[in-house]
């Protein structure tokens, strides 16, 4: 589904991704872990077409990122740190606008269902600027999946959410897994990573340091391998 070949990303004179190669098949849920500043968010941004690769190939669903960006964009859902929502708009207005931007038709029902799913029905017509961080994040999640993406890119989606909201998010991801959606989750939360992911990629210093399958929500294995890769030389960053 996602094929990355020797991806290098420089910003100015700084090399942030130093040759990343990754092959993700359809339906996988991949957790991306690594210390701060490792380049996880940058990797996600490149896949999300937000940053152009300096060199290397990125192919998504057989389409070249450079040649068919528009087609790829309509398959991607992206949830970064920022909410990407308009403050003056209500959840309904935000979702309505983004459904237009994704050229969707007959969306009324879908918008209301999404707002229900993230548990904010009562706030459907309140402006987002009056929301708490967690409520905003819930709407942001709804925004990122408004167009039924085939690939979902989540950058630290759990931060700022309460237990109930984490449950909602995990539910959303689980539902997508059933539908064979490919999901990439950048996170620092081992527990959640072990819970939802079936493959872990550890990024360190702009390179992929480890890449393994995770079965049975084995958090011990995850911790052990993370420590051996990252904390073995903790002064690397």
């Amino acid at each position: 589904m996602i094929k990355i070949d020797n991806l290098i990303k420089r910003v100015g004179d700084k090399v942030i991704l130093k040759g990343v190669s990754l092959n993700i098949t359809k339906g996988e849920t991949v957790g991306i872990l690594g210390p701060n500043g490792a380049g996880k968010s940058t990797l996600l941004k490149v896949i999300a077409t937000l940053l152009k690769p300096t060199s290397g190939e990125v192919t998504i669903d057989g389409l070249d990122l450079k040649k068919d960006p528009i087609k790829i964009k309509s398959k991607l859902g992206y949830l970064p740190h920022a909410s990407l929502l308009y403050d003056h708009f209500t959840p309904y207005e935000n979702l309505k606008f983004f459904s237009k931007v994704y050229y969707l038709d007959n969306v009324e029902e879908r918008i209301h269902k999404l707002i229900d799913d993230v548990g904010l029905r009562l706030f459907t017509h309140e402006p987002v600027k009056s929301f708490s961080r967690g409520m905003v994040q819930r709407i942001a999640i709804a925004r990122s999946i408004i167009h039924d993406p085939e690939i979902l890119l989540l950058d630290e989606p759990h931060t700022g959410l309460d237990q109930q909201a984490i449950g909602i998010l995990n539910n959303v991801v689980a539902k997508l897994q059933e539908r064979d959606v490919t999901t990439l989750i950048v996170t620092h939360d081992f527990l959640q990573a072990a819970k939802v992911c079936d493959r872990i990629v550890i990024v360190r210093n702009g390179r992929i340091a480890d890449d393994f399958l995770l079965e049975g929500q084995d958090i011990n294995l995850l911790q052990k391998r993370y420590q051996s890769v990252v904390e073995g030389d903790s002064n690397a960053i």
Partner: protein, 249 residues
């Protein structure tokens, strides 16, 4: 396909020595300028109506020419950069714009001195001079964009875009100003200031050509020099970072 190919890749070996061609060009330019001074002040005759002030002509016209060449250079190099994303084009475009601004400034100072003696007022809203003024502002804006506080690739991209729009704008500006000028002041000073009275004498023409040659060479020398300095800066920066990287590890 490689994008944003960086200078430091071919400069990994460190700062390269100055090439012989560059040295040769520098000496030739110096000699040509001495010749130009001789021709302007001794060889060519003093103009009858304007007197010695007319000598400024030999600096004014070549400067305007170089400004034009420099900005055309920015335009072409900007397109080249956007297509290939090679940093070298961006460096040349930046230096070319800076040289252009300097020579435009010369045009804008020599112009009024000339104008003072031939039209008895420092500034006239004469189309060529006014267009030069707008040009000066456009490329000053270009230089401002280049000094934006962001990574070089972004700066280069935005500057290139502005370099293209700015250059496309210049002919329209000139046309608008010329038109505006003739509508505002129906009887202007003949066709413009460059026809100095009744045509040029052959000695003056020869001096002018030497001036054009000397200034063109100067432009090339300055361009090379500027790019060399920029490259050296980048190489030093890259070296510094490599060192830091090693120390951290």
């Amino acid at each position: 396909m490689k994008k944003y190919q960086d200078i430091e890749l071919d400069y990994a070996k460190g700062v390269q020595p100055v090439s012989t061609i560059h040295k040769l060009l520098t000496y030739t330019t110096a000699i040509l300028f001495i010749v130009l001074v001789y021709m302007a002040f001794i060889y060519s005759p003093v103009e009858k109506t304007m007197g010695p002030v007319q000598k400024i002509f030999y600096a004014h016209v070549p400067s305007a020419w170089i400004a034009g060449v420099a900005f055309l250079g920015v335009f072409i190099l900007s397109i080249a950069f956007l297509i290939t994303r090679k940093r070298i084009y961006d460096l040349y475009a930046g230096i070319s714009a800076e040289i252009g601004v300097v020579f435009t400034t010369i045009v804008l100072t020599t112009g009024p001195i000339w104008g003072r003696s031939s039209w008895n007022s420092w500034w006239s809203w004469e189309p060529r001079l006014t267009t030069t003024l707008i040009l000066w502002f456009i490329y000053l804006a270009y230089v401002m964009i280049r000094h934006m506080d962001s990574p070089w690739d972004k700066r280069a991209r935005l500057a290139a875009v502005f370099g293209i729009i700015g250059f496309l704008d210049v002919p329209i500006v000139f046309f608008a100003i010329r038109w505006w000028n003739t509508k505002m002041h129906p009887i202007v000073f003949g066709e413009g200031k460059d026809q100095s009275g009744g045509g040029l004498e052959p000695e003056m023409l020869a001096t002018l050509f030497v001036g054009l040659g000397a200034f063109t060479l100067l432009y090339i020398v300055l361009l090379q020099k500027g790019v060399m300095i920029e490259k050296a800066k980048i190489a030093v920066q890259a070296y510094k970072e490599k060192l830091q990287d090693k120390l951290v590890r």
